[in-house]
Symmetry: C2
Subunit: 334 residues, 2 copies
DNA sequence: TTGAAAGCGCTAACAC
DNA sequence: GTGTTAGCGCTTTCAA
């Protein structure tokens, strides 16, 4: 590897001429350019990112933090964001934060150091700590969840799909099939997004004229295993429902697997609806809620580009509506 | 945001003292340090990555290129690598190269610019072009496939799982169940890794005393859809096998889904073995080959750290053996 | 214990 | 068209 000084020496020109030849900006005779490019190739030259960035203040990189890359839920979001960013010549770098606030704070810090020009920040749980860091970074960051802090002093954007409405759609679908006892398998109710989903279930039952019984609420952790163990608890409870709304596809899969293992029929014994409409749901024909992840990613990237390239400084938020996708797990004979 | 000069001015010390206070290296009275740290907090100071890197030549970042982040096959690899890198205080940044050589070359270029200290490079297809770029970068790069170029002038490391042996295990398993006609669903035979897998099937059939008939070879593209369409071609062919070896789980799933859709029973009508042993294979009880992805990631990261932290310059390669995991898709009544 | 100064590699304004 | 020069923000040697 080499630098512009070595090239300059080799071709007998000044470093600035070399820089101009390489960048294509500023004057440079075609003869000089030819010699410079030739020498650059010979010396296996490559510019140094750090040096360029130090001057230009541009990295052309966007950091994309994801709590769980193993969850197919995010695949569409990544694609959507990537498609937009690529168009602008931006690189997308994915960071796996492992559902862990320490990792999130670390990555926000990396952004603060201007390792990237902006960030798309996905998290299960926004709180004072990570939101505080987001605000303090003073960098362009887009959340993929709704978040308005009490004091209203935030200055980041967010794009969100209305998960509350998503669970409502799932619950209403089961109610419309005539189910009177509809259980909800969610995440820890302490987490903001989990609580939102729980509320969708509860409110929709009331709207449908049914009774939201908290004994029908089961806390899992969005994994197949937790869906499985919730199924066991549900089946063995004194209060067995006929409809199941799971807060994501993986828990729905766990539920169905338990049923398979114990000779319980889907949808005859339990009608099941998942959420996220991942590839899994096609594979096992699970009725699910399309959360339009790709559009989230797409919009998030666009908001970032507005801030970075057009210098927008005011806050923007975007709401996206989920859609019900009916498959065999919720309707007998379909 | 601010810099060390503003802090220096605020506390009435020189920039170099501020730098020492912040870094903890070099002399600095505790009183000065206290004042500096306080001012840094007030001014919302954060060091600039580019400036640090320009001097130190260290980014503490590793780029991890993956051709298809949507494929669960890589999940274990990411985890393995990440666990090791984290221990060394390194950050892992994932780059989705979308099975596309242009994207790969772009990322190798980003590394060449020293945006990261090293790279784990996963690809479906190594060729002169990307291997040439790897060699030219003169940066620490580990491949997760076997690759020795004809001239033997490579100077990168690789860790690989013996996929050839993996397909052999799958094929032998079916042969041992008494299957005489065993089809192979693979990727494009032009791709190095696909050809390797194909050879495993072919050679194992010969070893098992069976006839490797090229009419039983079907080319897919590692997606569920292609497994589905191969199934259709297989079922409608004049030469219907009883055993199916798929070069990955997704194609096996596609195959099984076609059978489901057409009333064909697994494993009675077709015994199916996939490869990669992903979560999918547990879900649908698919016999598969454990490719020990986590160990690949783990070893790849260790090799990188040896180069970066210990300055190793000689080439190293590591071979890992796959394992057969038997489930219901290949043995009736299991 | 602190400060001055050079330098990392590139950019860009300005002078020639 | 080309060269000189002054930074970008931080690190580190050396002198004080």
């Amino acid at each position: 590897m080499s630098n512009i000084y070595e090239i300059a020496e080799k071709v007998g020109l000044s470093p600035s001429t070399v820089a101009r030849a390489l960048s294509g900006r500023g004057y440079c005779s075609s003869e000089s350019r030819r010699k410079v490019l030739e020498a650059a190739k010979e010396l296996n030259y490559s510019p140094t990112h750090a040096a360029k960035t130090l001057k230009s203040k541009r990295t052309n990189k966007i950091l994309f933090c994801i709590p769980d890359i193993y969850n197919p839920f995010y695949f569409g979001m990544i694609k959507g964001a990537n498609d937009v960013l690529e168009e602008y010549g931006y690189y997308t770098l994915l960071c796996h934060t492992k559902h862990n606030i320490e990792e999130e704070l670390k990555m926000i810090d990396v952004l603060r150091e201007k390792y990237g020009d902006g960030m798309i920040f996905v998290s299960f749980h926004f709180c004072e700590e990570n939101i505080g860091a987001v605000n303090a970074s003073e960098m362009p960051i887009v959340l993929t969840n709704r978040y308005d802090s009490p004091d209203g002093n935030d200055n980041f954007d967010y794009v969100y799909v209305d998960t509350y409405m998503g669970v409502q759609l799932a619950t209403r679908h089961l109610a419309e099939q005539g189910h009177r006892k509809i259980a909800f398998i969610g995440g820890s109710l302490d987490e903001q997004t989990s609580f939102e989903r729980y509320s969708g279930w509860k409110d929709e039952l009331v709207e449908s004229g049914l009774n939201p019984d908290d004994e029908l609420v089961y806390e899992g952790d969005y994994t197949i295993e937790s869906g499985y163990s919730c199924a066991e608890r549900i089946v063995k409870s004194s209060h067995v429902p006929t409809g199941i709304v799971a807060a994501n596809d993986l828990m729905a899969i766990g539920f169905i697997r338990y049923c398979d293992d114990h000779g319980i029929r889907i949808p005859e014994d339990f009608a099941v609806v998942g959420m996220d409409n991942t590839d899994f749901s096609t594979v096992i024909r699970l009725t699910s809620i399309n959360m339009r992840q790709e559009e989230i990613g797409l919009n998030a990237a666009s908001l970032l580009m507005e801030r970075i390239l057009e210098g927008r400084t005011c806050k923007k938020t975007i709401r996206i509506e989920p859609k019900l996708v009916v498959r065999e797990s919720s309707i007998p004979g379909k």
